[in-house]
């Protein structure tokens, strides 16, 4: 790390690890409930586990983005963070809000709107918190000696993510409108501005890890995020087919969803090409694995698997089935989870001065978690396709069909176990790195610049 204040990022990453572990626990609770072992029903019913599982995902990814920003922005701005104290206060309050929300879920305190279950009073605190974060980042950039595209794209992404949280806070008594504007948050986040954040972080990592000229990488960054918005904004339409909105959304959503893989394909080609053009070998191979892996898996999970069921003629059958869960798992993993793990893998040796990337466990973490996640996605895919045929095409009863697909959930649990082994390796490595050290300031373990 170049600057003392980058150490803040460590605490954000540590929080990530904690929340990710918890998310996996709740995933298992749901997996077991699906094969008939729902002994926790009285304490953690499925809807509680589900809300906790998905909200933890959102919270840990956002925590990761914040940590990444606190690490990247000082380096890109070539100065210390505007206020380290503010960053710690922000992290602390962020964790408090998250913990209160999750405990609340267990006492029937929530909003009951998929992905946006956090109760309204806490929403306001989230807004204040994110504004604090953005203020800190903005001031750092404002007072910076230099401007970079990476820095600005990342900031623009974080700002839009904050602004787009607002439509989710308006109350609509009409279910259709409620759903319509809920997707402004959920879709425009994950298939819009989060991709901007992803592009910014990816650009930073590629610059550091491949040594390719910044100008080249940043030019393609514009092209990639341009493609994202070109397809992603009107791609929101694929959520508007069957909720009571006009018929033209079928056409608009269909066409622009079909273009969405292009943005991810662009991202993958961009990352791989930059890697091919690399000037020198960076010693932190594990960070490179996660970086390139993220670019490729996001194309498969978010791009290809999304494309596989957003065409209206297909979606009328798959909408509201496990097919969505299948796509969701690999999409979030590839695009965002792997990217946060990439930043952590890159930053940890720099923060602590310990070069653990020479060992075997980093590779084990990478392969076990990725194969595990592909296995889970495969199991969900088979379960989902079976469900679509039996329940939707043949008209069999919901519960009867669910019994038919129990077997695939056993498969999913096995794959999830492998996934957990991988994540455990990752977390053990994280802990082995130890705390950020002052001696590491001013040095970057093996950087090319």
């Amino acid at each position: 790390m170049r600057f003392q204040s980058q150490k803040v990022a460590y605490w954000f990453f540590a929080t990530c690890m904690l929340l990710l572990s918890l998310q996996i626990v709740y995933g298992f609770i749901m997996g077991f409930a699906r094969i008939g072992f729902d002994g926790l029903h009285d304490f953690i019913p499925f809807n509680t586990a589900r809300a906790t599982h998905t909200n933890l995902l959102v919270v840990w990814l956002l925590t990761g983005f914040m940590g990444a920003a606190y690490y990247i922005i000082p380096e890109e701005s070539d100065r210390e963070l505007y206020s380290v104290k503010l960053a710690y206060i922000q992290l602390l309050s962020w964790v408090v809000v998250g913990v209160v929300a999750i405990i609340g879920f267990h006492f029937n305190w929530w909003e009951g709107r998929k992905f946006l279950e956090i109760p309204r009073p806490l929403d306001y605190l989230v807004v204040v918190n994110v504004l604090t974060f953005l203020f800190n980042i903005a001031m750092t950039i404002w007072q910076a000696k230099k401007r970079s595209t990476t820095q600005l794209v990342l900031f623009f992404g974080l700002l839009c993510a904050a602004l787009l949280y607002l439509p989710g806070m308006i109350y609509f008594d009409n279910q259709t409108l409620d759903s319509y504007f809920r997707w402004w948050v959920v879709h425009l986040w994950v298939e819009g501005v989060w991709e901007l954040i992803m592009g910014g972080i990816l650009a930073f990592l590629l610059i550091k890890l491949t040594g390719v000229d910044r100008e080249v990488i940043e030019k393609w960054l514009y092209v990639v995020v341009g493609l994202t918005f070109l397809s992603g904004i009107l791609g929101t339409g694929h959520h508007y087919y069957w909720i009571g909105t006009p018929k033209y959304w079928l056409m608009v959503g269909g066409i622009f969803s079909a273009l969405e893989p292009l943005a991810f394909l662009g991202m993958a080609i961009w990352a791989l090409n930059m890697y091919r053009k690399k000037g020198k070998n960076h010693p932190n191979k594990i960070a490179l694995y996660w970086t390139l892996g993220s670019a490729m898996m996001s194309f498969i999970g978010a791009g290809f698997l999304g494309f596989a069921h957003t065409w209206p003629a297909v979606n009328q059958w798959t909408h509201g089935t496990l097919i969505t869960a299948m796509h969701g798992h690999l999409a979030f993993w590839g695009a965002y989870a792997m990217l946060v793990l990439a930043v952590i893998s890159y930053a940890m040796p720099n923060l602590t001065g310990r070069k653990l990337f020479t060992g075997m466990s980093g590779y084990l973490a990478f392969w076990a978690s990725n194969i595990g996640m592909l296995g889970m996605t495969g199991a969900l895919a088979v379960a989902g396709i079976t469900q679509v045929y039996l329940e939707r095409k043949l008209g069999m009863d919901f519960l009867v069909v669910q019994k038919e697909i129990i077997f695939h959930f056993i498969g999913m649990l096995l794959a999830a176990t492998l996934f957990t082994v991988g994540i455990t390796y990752f977390i053990v490595d994280f802990i082995r790195h130890g705390l950020p050290s002052d001696e590491a300031v001013g040095k970057n373990a093996g950087d090319l610049e």
Partner: protein, 234 residues
């Protein structure tokens, strides 16, 4: 080859253009919303029902208009499919209606709250959702070999009492139509006499403690109709 400023112009121009189209379409969607969702039918009960729906995070298991958690059935057309009476009985003790199956929380809603939930679901079911959910389009007979010709049933001889088709068919089948949670009732009339059937329906637990059959809220004439119908199934 593309220069960096051209790439930036592509990004900014594209973002602006497509955001503008998106906002335009949103305005048009809002304009059509009243008629497509029958907003005039959103009574106080419907709004209350939506509140209950959200307060208990029903979407954490069920889906509505296909949005939710895939752990429990989609409820978009549930009022049309099951009928208000069935839902009313079901909500009192969901686990009794599907014994040994996936569990639903017993919320203990009162009569009024249940009515509000049903009103909300009824309104949602009538939203113009572009034909979703679609009707099954593969006839099940075309892929499954028909079983041995079904034993002749008296099912068609007599029309089902209203309550029977509202409640009983959720679990029991007659003439191959109905649920499979409880046994098929095609020949129940030859197994039990009407007195036994009457006592059974009045209080299943008293006859066979531990049975999965719930005690259904039937008035005397309703129960009498069902017993008469069942006795004819020989």
């Amino acid at each position: 080859m593309l220069s960096k400023s051209q790439a930036r112009a592509f990004f900014l121009g594209g973002t602006f253009l497509f955001s503008a189209i998106f906002v335009f379409l949103t305005v048009d969607t809002l304009r059509q919303n009243e008629s497509r969702t029958n907003a005039q039918n959103m009574t106080a009960d419907v709004l209350k029902g939506k509140e209950i729906w959200e307060k208990n995070n029903c979407m954490g298991c069920h889906t509505l208009l296909g949005e939710g958690a895939y752990y429990a059935p989609d409820l978009t057309k549930v009022v049309e499919r099951r009928g208000a009476t069935w839902i009313d009985v079901f909500l009192d003790d969901p686990q009794a209606m599907f014994p040994g199956e996936r569990k639903m929380i017993i919320y203990g809603f009162n009569k009024e709250e249940k009515g509000q939930i049903i009103a909300f679901l009824d309104w949602v079911g009538k939203i113009d959702a572009n034909g979703w959910p679609p009707k099954p389009n593969i006839p099940i007979d075309s892929i499954a070999t028909p079983q041995v010709p079904q034993a002749k049933s008296n099912a068609v001889v007599m029309a089902q009492p209203e309550k029977f088709s509202q409640l009983c068919v959720a679990c029991h089948a007659v003439g191959g139509k109905g649920g499979n949670v409880g046994p098929a009732l095609d020949h129940v009339g030859s197994k039990f006499d009407s007195d036994y059937l009457n006592r059974w329906l009045s209080d299943p637990q008293a006859i066979k403690p531990g049975t999965n059959m719930p005690k259904l809220p039937l008035t005397d004439p309703e129960r009498k109709d069902i017993v008469t119908y069942l006795s004819a199934l020989k």
